[in-house]
Amino acid sequence: MSQPLPSSAAPVVSLRDVHKSFGSLKVLDGVSFEVPRGEVMAIIGRSGSGKSTALRCIDRLETIESGEIIVCGHRVSDPKLPLRALRLDVGIVFQSYNLFPHLTIEENICLAPVTVKGKRRAEARETARRVLGQVGLGDKLDSYPEQLSGGQQQRAAIARSLAMEPQVMLFDEVTSALDPELTGEVLRVIEQLAAGGMTMVMVTHEMGFARRVADRIVFMHQGKVWETGPAGILDAPETAELRQFVGSGL
């Protein structure tokens, strides 16, 4: 996990003047931000402001029109980038868990270590046990996703990402589909990861959580980084838009 990068001072994630449109709709309009190693960045903003798109660009699920994205030393904005190398370094968890329904939790977790990293099954199982313990699901190895609650499925999805030992984790509103009580158990897992020094970028609507865990907040508005700074900006917003956003109780 602490494998040294070409230059250890370089940020793990860096976006510089990123532009992205869907047809005539400008979704990212010159977005720039950096996430240093070991830091947690929370991206907040209204629906449609481009948060998910920014996150997806980091993992090259979307391509960009201009600007530069560098993640763990990979030039993501380069069309010829070998995706596999990027994806070995980046873990991403979505709102809709996306566990593979035909596989047990253990098989879900072992699939990538075995097929992508060529780990041996026994070794992969050991990893599965470890990461499931980490998210508090040590007893669910043999369950199928549908047998778990939403919160448990989401934690299993986090464990599946962790099993690949990524350098950075991306979370896109991972608690939006959950009841408040289940939200807590997932947020606790993310908080532990943060405490463990994992570099993370999370899109979230949980303001209290962002305030507590994030080292830096990015408030997006109309495809731009409208305001950014330490968590304190949530209590003393400079822009009217952020003030209104925070005030609206979202």
């Binding site: 993992d59 699920l61 995706l83 596999r84 994806r87 070995l88 980046v90 873990g91 991403i92 979505f94 809709s96 996306n98 566990l99 593979f100 329904p101 035909h102 596989l103 047990t104 699939l111 990538a112 097929t115 992508v116 990293k117 199928y144 549908e146 047998q147 999805a157 599946r160 990402s161 690949m164």
Partner: protein, 227 residues
């Protein structure tokens, strides 16, 4: 009206029925295996192939689904003959049935592929799986599990439809019944007997598919529910 059934002379010829049933089963198994392979490949070609291949697979499916099986069998039979191939009735029957069920399999597999949400594929990609690995582990296997009941029904239907190949004198069950009724003048009894044979074959196939399903899909075995 007096209906007198006399199965004696018909049942005397039971070895013929067994031979017919054996050939029907062989046709069904061959066409199922090759038809499935053909259909799965076409479904993949249609989904991810270059435009010309996708069109070709689509055209094949529409052509087969909108013409009668009997005509397809004649086309293969006379088509190959006029090209100078002299194949046995059995081979032609197996070939025509394969081509036929391949088209239906393509459609069923496509429905299976379409039932896998995009997010699943993205999750696979993001874990570092190659396109091919995503196809296999995230798309094909769960899609198969989902459409397995529809697929197996199609294969049982195919076995029943193989009855039509009696028209090119493949010596399967129906051809045997045709022969025996003309030999014994016991038409009703002959066809009742052959119907019971088909029922038994259907049962055997369904049982086989059920067992195979348990082997192929551990989730189904453990939870007992469809995916």
């Amino acid at each position: 009206m007096n209906l007198r059934l006399d199965f004696g002379v018909v049942l005397e010829r039971w070895p013929l029925f067994l031979d017919g049933a054996w050939m029907t089963l062989q046709l069904a198994v061959l066409a199922t295996l090759f038809g499935f392979a053909l259909g799965a490949l076409c479904a993949v070609g249609r989904r991810s192939g270059p435009p010309w291949l996708a069109k070709l697979c689509g055209g094949y499916v529409e052509a087969i689904r909108n013409t009668p099986l009997l005509v397809q069998i004649f086309l293969v039979y006379f088509g190959l003959a006029s090209l100078g191939f002299s194949l046995s009735a059995f081979t032609v029957a197996a070939l025509a049935l394969t081509i036929n069920v391949g088209a239906y399999t393509t459609e069923i597999m496509r429905a299976g592929f379409d039932s896998i949400p995009r997010g699943q594929l993205e999750a696979g990609e993001c874990l570092g799986l190659s396109q091919r690995q995503v196809y296999w582990h995230v798309l094909l296997l769960p899609a198969m599990e989902r459409v397995y009941p529809a697929l197996t029904s199609q294969f049982v239907l195919l076995m029943l439809a193989s009855s039509v190949t009696s028209q090119i004198s493949a010596e399967e069950l129906t051809a045997v019944a045709n022969y025996i009724q003309s030999d014994t003048y016991r038409a009703f009894e002959s066809y009742i007997t052959v119907a019971l044979f088909y029922l038994a074959l259907s049962f055997v196939m369904r049982l086989g598919f059920w067992g195979l399903g348990l082997v192929l899909f551990p989730r189904r075995r453990r939870l007992g529910t469809p995916l």
